[in-house]
Every structure is written in C-alpha cells, then in structure tokens.
Symmetry: C2
Subunit: 186 residues, 2 copies
DNA sequence: ACGTTTCTATACCGACTGGTACGAATATCG
DNA sequence: CGATATTCGTACCAGTCGGTATAGAAACGT
C-alpha cells in the first residue's frame, strides 16, 4: 500500500464526510494499514489532514485557479465559475477546502495555517480577476475591488456548501447566477 | 440554581462557541451543578440542546419573525433584516440556530428535528413576506417566490455566519446589501 | 541456510465523551 | 425534634479519541 494511495483514501473520506468526523482509526481501517504505518508516514493527524488538503488542492482546487486566470473576460469567467460550483461532479459532496475552513478551529495548527494560506491565495486570485475586469472596463460599478472579492468568494463558497448538503444543482445554479448578477448589471 | 438559569448558561455557551464543542461536563461546571441534576432535568444531551435551542428561539430568533411579519413593505423590511444581521449585538457571535443547522449531523434526533422544523417555519415566513411584496407590486422581477425565498434565507444565514467568524459588521452590511439588491432592482 | 534488519499488527496508554449508581447532606413534613 | 424524602456530589461505567511500545513476521544480504 503506497503512501499516495493512503492519502487518496484519507482525502476522499474527509471530502465525502467531514474532516472532524473521520478518525485516524477509521482511515487506517479504510486504507487497510496499521496506525504505526500511518504515523510513520505522516507524523500526526495534523500532518495527515494537511497532506490530504494539499493533495486535494493539486487534484481539484487547481481547476478553479485555471478558470480565474483564464483571461476569458468577466461574463465568460463568471459563467465558468457558476458551472464549476453548480454542476461539476467533483463538487457533488462539497469542497474539502471549504469544509475545513468552516471547521477551522477543529484542525491542527499546520492544517489550519495551510487553510488560511490557501484562503489568501484564493482571495488574491479573485481580486486579480476583478481588477482585470475593471481595467478592461467590463465592470464599471461603484463597488470596490475589496468588497467585490470577498463577496464573490463567499458566494462561490455558499454554492459549493449547498452542494454538500444535497441541494439540487439547478436550484444552486439559479441562486448563484442571481447573486453574481450584481457584477454584470449597471 | 434554577433550571432556566442552567438553560441560560447552556444556551450562551452553545451560542458563543459551537454546540459540538461544548460538553455536558463543561456546562455542569459553568452552571455550578452536578451531572445527575442536569440529567434529571433534561434527560439527555439531546434534551438539553433542544431546550437551549427552544430558549434561543424565544429570546432571540423571535425578533426576526417580528421583522418579517411587520408589514412594512419590501424596502423597509429588507433594510431591517440587513440591520439585524449586520449590526444587532445579539448576532455578534453568530446565531445558535444557524450553527446547529450547519452541524446538523452532529446533533441528537430531537434537536435535529427541531432545527428542521424551525428551518421550515423560517422559510415559510420568508415566503409569505416575498409573496406579500409581490402582491403589492413592489417586486415585479421574474424571480420565483420559491427561489427568492431560499436565496433570501441563505444570504441572511451567510451574513450572520460571517458575524460569528469575526468579520467586520460594516463589511458584512455592504455585502448583504449587495446580495439583497437583486430584490429591489428592475 | 542463517543472522540481521526493517516493517507490521496488536494491544495498550492517558484523556476525554455521554451517562449512571450510590452514599452523604439537606430540606421538608408530621 | 425526629423521620422521611429528595437532591447533591463523587466516583465510576463503557466507549472513543490521538498516539505509541513491543513482539512477531517478512524481507534482505551474505
């Protein structure tokens, strides 16, 4: 049993349920390895959750940055974000990153630091995207970049969190489209 | 030590922290009573959390229904909702109801049922409010009552959840105002 | 084939959880 | 005042948590 395979099992377990509700014992059982093996590989539960989060960011979250940095213009990029949050099958049970962010206080220090770092990176990506749109004159509203960034990030997070609670994708799409319409209206 | 006093301590502990992070032992210590006393009064942890939620609904959540049923018209009611979610000191550490709803799977069956029941009541209040506005011609948009209801509820929940994470009230007000502007624009 | 070394699995540790049995102290009532 | 009923607090139960010591099995080099 490879270390990456174990990490895959852990990542998916955390992802489909909730990091706080999956014990290391359960992960060992699911992965078919012993606890000492897991602790030799990852050091602690904090190390495991952090590694799982990193793997998740590489495999799944990177997609969102591709969309944001695609340079497709305001309308097309927002539409792609809406597609991603509402319909992408990878978001069917929510987003591990947002789940961890929501239960930040239950995480170990390393994992929590990584979550905060990723949050900052995501905010920066949102801000750069909005700034580009403003520079291109596509988004003339009086809204500040700062508030727009936070708003956009929270709306996407809300949509993905609703996916995790089993809400219908069509409904989520409708609501997210509504929320983001503030960027494309006069 | 009265039963209501114990309930007050429990309610505030759940409210300021998170129901899943407060043990019955901690509550007994805070309230200065013994576990047997608590169990005699409330039967189980589920009974305690449920009673605390009920008390919270009476003391705090009722305010929101007053706002929704005030019959002040679309603009004024939305403004009052924004005030309540953004600036009311009672929402400074978030809302116990929304905290419980977010961690629904960690609750006992009675408390969970009560949360779902309250959620339905809140949705109905939002729906009635929006229907009234539509009947009065104040809200002519093509948006369905159903989606508008869910959207309104989730945006208020998001704002209050941000209060719990220490976000600045002014920022929250700005974002919630932005989100709810979809109801008052052509 | 044998000795060494590395890895694994089991069984355990202390701390905590929700929940309870039972003796002691207190309050109530005749 | 004294008998009774009730509440209180301690100490405990079984279970789970994250984390680890230790004995045994497997792999390796010679």
């Amino acid at each position: 049993m490879n270390a990456d395979q174990v990490l895959d099992v852990a990542m998916k377990a955390y992802w489909h349920s909730d990091p706080a509700d999956v014990s290391v014992n359960a992960i060992c059982q699911m992965a078919g390895i012993s606890k000492p093996s897991l602790y030799r590989e990852f050091g602690s539960e904090d190390g495991l959750t952090r590694a799982a989060l990193d793997r998740y960011a590489d495999q799944v979250l990177a997609e969102m940055f591709v969309i944001l940095h695609g340079g497709k213009g305001l309308h097309a990029t927002l539409a792609a974000l809406i597609d991603f949050a509402s319909d992408d099958p990878r978001m069917e049970t929510g987003c591990l990153f947002y789940k961890m962010r929501a239960g930040k206080h239950r995480l170990g220090p390393d994992t929590r630091a990584r979550v905060e770092e990723m949050d900052a990176v995501a905010q920066a990506a949102y801000a750069a995207f909005l700034q580009t749109a403003r520079d291109a004159g596509e988004w003339p509203g009086g809204l500040s970049i700062e508030v727009g960034t936070k708003y956009l990030g929270e709306q996407v997070a809300l949509a993905i969190t609703m996916r995790a609670s089993g809400e219908e994708p069509a409904r989520i799409r409708e609501m997210l489209t509504l929320a983001l319409s503030v960027f494309t209206r006069p």
